[in-house]
């Protein structure tokens, strides 16, 4: 055998290289869902941008004003004009920054009034554009080019951040545990990758940070080396808006169909009613979801990991990355529900074990980074076998039953709505809260498919995929809806003019998901029980309402039937009595009828009307 130097075969690739070829891992594959994925990713980012801006600077937005119908009409008509102007559906190729700015001004013109009112707003426009000739093969297979444009008036990005925007794993969301929408830095970069992979067109971004005077414009491709290749280099220009971010890109996908992206926006608007969302779909339909509440949700507090939720891998990571110098401070500062006494106790017990095993002991002031593998193992074992208080609940921010009800009522106009927020709970060291809402009747149409009935939300984000895999679904299907006067589908969900809303919120939800796609919550006994209890609580109220209605209906029907017969009865009796000498014509048929009707329950309204007529002497 030759003794040539063998070059190893395992190359260390970058994340970017890896992900570029696997965008489907985060939902970017051809299919109806891709449209929804784009919308979801960027809408989530936009909402995050607006919220974090507000929590930093509450003066950024003014939520006291009413968004009148006139304003909404203005938005719709101006948007229609904009659509009309861009009828030719050309794919825009920006060559210079000025062109981009012109376009942005036109794009945000319909919502100028809202921007001036300092209303938080997001606008998304998804439309089909002309297929360039080099992609015409795809066209024949029912695949089209879509232009995705989004604007939000969140805090915007400073130029340095704009540089990192679209770089894999560059995320503004820290790794600290907080109730967030849950992106980890895969979304935007994967979107960009997919966009340019499928169309070869660059991404255009304009962003103005609230603290800067100028806006930054750029148009670029991202590379496998996780860098950017610019078509329009970042330039600082006069801002077309006070603060916010504008993104435009193109992607290839099969033809748009209703039921995915539009549903996502509708549902996201429900639980994020502190922001106005405008969505223009490829059918040129303009969906406006105006702000319906006058308060932002409170900023969720950071949560330290609870000992019960930590596994050995995370424990090792935490030890490796900690800034604490001593073992004692590591233990007591890193985890929630850990006091220094407890930390001391853990170290002592660990030492007992180590002694037995003849291993070197650890001390309170040992450097955490200097622990041996075996010491870590023993420490972990003692650490997890302790009893801890349940995690604190103030890291959990629910929507709130009143807000839930208000928004569902305004959006769906049901005849009955009820919501409940259960007290926060924790299992396995993860605290979360379950909220449920039920809406019935009114303008809610009967459903033909059960997937329209249950709206799932995790941390205010709608989850549309992997429906039946989710713990929420399973909990909802396990409720005995017939008991609450509802028919059911075969799969156990209720059937009729009814909608269920379930929201699970908490700082740990990212570990509660089932798979990588983070669309379904894993089946957990406690979680399912919580959801079921919440649903049953609102279902009970619905049942009371329906029963009351049935009774009222029966009453009304009876009153109607008896009334109709009473007219005939009184007339016949009168015809006999009018010839009766004893009464000598003193009987009045209307009085007879009125007296009979007055003893029919539920005909009081009729009686009132008659009394008014009599009193007026007519």
């Amino acid at each position: 055998m030759s003794k040539e130097k063998v070059v190893g075969e395992i190359k260390q690739s970058t994340i970017a290289e890896f992900m570029r070829k696997r965008t489907q891992l985060v939902g970017f594959e051809f299919g109806f869902n891709k449209h929804m994925q784009y919308v979801a990713e960027f809408l989530d980012n936009a909402l995050d941008a607006i919220e974090s801006f507000y929590w930093r600077f509450p003066e950024a937005y003014s939520l006291e004003n009413n968004i009148s119908n006139d304003i909404l009409d203005e938005i719709v008509s101006k948007t229609k004009e904009m659509i009309e102007k861009n009828k030719e559906n050309e794919l825009k190729e920006f060559r210079v920054a000025e062109e981009v700015i012109e376009h942005v001004k036109e794009f945000i013109d319909p919502i100028r009034t809202l921007l001036d009112m300092k209303e938080p707003v997001v606008v998304i426009w998804l439309r089909e554009v002309e297929t360039p000739t080099f992609l015409s093969n795809a066209h024949r297979q029912n695949v089209r080019v879509y232009e995705f444009t989004i604007f939000d008036n969140g805090g915007g990005m400073i130029p340095q951040d704009l540089k990192k925007f679209g770089i894999y794993l560059a995320s503004s969301k820290s790794e600290k545990l907080r109730q967030t929408r849950g992106s980890q830095g895969f979304g935007a970069p994967s979107a960009f990758t997919d966009a340019q992979n499928t169309t070869g067109k660059p991404i255009t971004v304009v962003s103005k940070h609230y603290s800067r005077d100028k806006a930054t414009v750029a148009s670029f491709f991202t590379t496998t080396k996780n860098t950017k290749d610019y078509v329009i280099h970042p330039r600082n220009v006069e801002p077309p808006f006070p603060y916010g971010t504008f993104v435009k890109l193109y992607y290839l996908n099969i033809m748009y169909k209703r039921g995915y992206a539009d549903v996502y926006v509708e549902r996201a608007a429900l639980l994020n009613a502190h922001v106005t969302i405008v969505f223009i779909d490829p059918y040129n339909e303009i969906h406006v979801y105006p702000r319906r509440v006058s308060e932002f949700p409170p900023e969720p507090k950071y949560a330290k990991p609870h000992p019960a939720s930590v596994n050995i891998g995370e424990f090792q990571d935490l030890l490796r990355d900690t800034k604490q110098r001593t073992l004692l401070s590591f233990l007591s500062k890193t985890f929630s529900r850990m006091s220094s006494e407890k930390a001391k106790k853990i170290i002592e017990e660990a030492n007992e074990e180590l002694k037995k095993l003849g291993l070197p002991l650890i001390a309170k002031n040992t450097d955490p980074k200097k622990l041996t593998k075996k010491q870590i193992e023993v420490l972990f074992k003692v650490f997890t076998s302790q009893k801890y208080l349940a995690p604190s609940k103030d890291t959990v921010v629910p929507v709130g039953a009143e807000v839930f009800k208000k928004v569902v009522k305004e959006m769906l106009k049901p005849e009955f709505v009820e919501a409940v927020t259960r007290p926060p709970t924790s299992g396995k060291g993860l605290s979360y809260v379950v909220e449920a809402c039920i809406a019935y009747g009114g303008e809610i149409p009967y459903t033909t498919s059960s997937s329209q009935v249950l709206w799932r939300f995790v941390n205010r984000t709608p989850k549309l995929r992997d429906n039946s895999d989710c713990a929420i679904w399973k909990a909802a299907a396990s409720v005995n809806w017939k008991n609450y006067k509802l028919d059911v589908f075969e799969n156990g969900l209720p059937r009729g003019p009814v909608r269920l809303f379930v929201h699970v919120a908490g700082p740990f939800v990212h570990v509660m998901f089932k798979g990588q796609s983070k669309q379904a919550l894993a089946e957990d006994k406690l979680l399912i029980r919580e959801i079921k209890l919440a649903l049953e609580e609102v279902a009970r109220k619905l049942r009371s309402y329906i029963t009351g209605k049935e009774t009222a209906e029966k009453k009304a029907k009876r009153a109607y039937v008896l009334s109709k017969y009473a007219e005939k009865f009184a007339k016949s009796l009168y015809n006999i009595l009018k010839t009766d000498i004893e009464f000598d014509g003193s009987i009045d048929p209307e009085t007879l009828l009125r007296k009979m009707k007055s003893s029919i329950e539920g005909v009081e309204e009729t009686l009132e009307k008659v009394a008014i007529v009599e009193a007026s002497g007519s």
Binding site: V561, Y565, F569, L573, N575, L592
Partner: protein, 406 residues
């Protein structure tokens, strides 16, 4: 009185008919006495009963107004009218055969307006009360069907309006006829009788050969005078024309009526009226078959479903004169004109034999059993096998003279 079977006695076929009225009608007059005596045995009426009887129009009108006033009072006080209707279940109807009276007990059905279950019926009740009131005020009559058509929307089906008509008759304590609700009439009458019918005086001996069509408006019929000593009820028109042609009432002082195949209400009511007022016996002349016996039973005590009306249309004194099964031999009816009984015939005969009112009459039982044994039947026209005048000249006089009836 029954014929005694003596060994070697003369068959009725060979007996010579007697036309001297005293001899001919001796048995008939005896029967008449018997019936009169029975009526005199008046016992006391049971307590707490309401007598149902034919009433003159003024009385019916008065009672209607009484009911209406009561309803008015109820509405004035509570707004909730209620009808109290006598129940016509078997435990509340008593047909007093001795007094020949229909009695209703105390049981009442409350029909309230203010209930989904009875609002429709209550409204139908007042509506029909209104209609009957109108009939009586105007002095006109209507059939059940016409009343139904008066307000089809409200009545929905004729059986509903029919039931309410009966309810009202019971509530007013009278017969349906008295409420001016009549049934169509099919029958005819001829013979020694003078009546006033809706103002016209009619002599039933001077109506040619067809006779007088029995009117459904029985309350319009007044019996003025009659010297008949019996009523002959013939099943079929065929017998009537035979008797009419012979002007039989000149030979035998009688009135002849027929239902022309059925025993319809008007004919039954008319027969009952005749018998009650003239106090003369009635004799049925039917085919010698189960259907004929059935027709007889209807005249005798009403149709099988003892509806409220039926006892009112019964003539409990009527006797079955012929054609009996035993008559077939007795009068030497040839085999060729006798027909075999069908399965349905046999079933009907067996049904009749099960009836208690048949079982009480031994002679009747014997005749039916004979019919079953022979499995033969014959129509009354079969008598023509001995000649067209056999019925009038031999059969009837001999039967009547010998008192050969059941």
């Amino acid at each position: 009185m029954s014929t005694k079977k003596r060994r070697g006695r003369t068959k009725l076929a060979d007996r010579k008919p007697v036309w001297e009225l005293d001899k001919l009608l001796r048995r008939v007059r005896e029967l008449r006495e018997q019936l009169a005596k029975r009526r005199e045995r008046l016992g006391k009426l049971p307590p707490n009963v309401m007598v149902v009887e034919e009433l003159p129009a003024e009385e019916v009108h008065r009672r209607i107004h009484e009911v209406a006033r009561q309803l008015y009072m109820q509405i004035e006080e509570t707004g909730r009218p209620v009808f109290e209707i006598p129940a016509r279940t078997s435990d509340n109807i008593i047909y007093d055969e001795d007094h020949d009276m229909l009695l209703l007990g105390q049981k009442r059905i409350r029909r309230v307006f203010h209930s989904l279950a009875s609002v429709a019926d209550a409204t139908r009740t007042i509506r029909i009360l209104e209609i009957i009131h109108e009939l009586i005020e105007e002095g006109i009559h209507a059939t059940k069907r016409e009343i139904f058509y008066n307000d089809v929307k409200l009545f929905k089906e004729q059986r509903f309006s029919d039931n309410v008509i009966e309810d009202i008759a019971a509530m007013l304590g009278t017969t349906r006829n008295s409420t001016h609700v009549v049934a169509a009439a099919k029958g005819a009458a001829i013979g020694r009788l003078v009546i006033r019918d809706s103002g016209d005086v009619i002599d039933l001996t001077k109506l040619g050969s067809g006779g007088w069509a029995i009117t459904p408006f029985l309350d319009q019929v007044e019996i003025l005078e009659s010297d008949a000593e019996l009523v002959l009820v013939v099943e079929k028109d065929a017998a009537l024309i035979r008797l009419a042609e012979a002007k039989y009432w000149n030979k035998l002082p009688c009135i002849i009526i027929t239902g022309k195949g059925s025993a319809d209400i008007a004919t039954r009511a008319f027969l009952r009226k005749l018998v009650k007022e003239l106090k003369i016996p009635a004799f049925a002349l039917v085919d010698s078959d189960p259907y004929g016996h059935y027709i007889f039973s209807v005249y005798l005590r009403g149709s099988k479903k003892l509806s409220y009306e039926s006892p009112f249309l019964a003539t409990p004194e009527i006797k079955l004169l012929g054609v009996l099964s035993k008559d077939l031999d007795e009068f030497k009816i040839p085999k060729e004109v006798r027909l075999p009984m069908t399965k349905a015939d046999i079933e009907r005969t067996e049904q009749l034999l099960k009836e208690p009112f048949v079982q009480r009459n031994k002679k009747w039982v014997r005749d039916l059993e004979l019919m079953l044994e022979r499995k033969e039947k014959a129509e009354i026209q079969a008598l023509a096998s001995h000649g067209f005048k056999y019925l009038t000249d031999q059969y009837l006089p001999v039967k009547i003279e010998t008192g050969d009836w059941i």
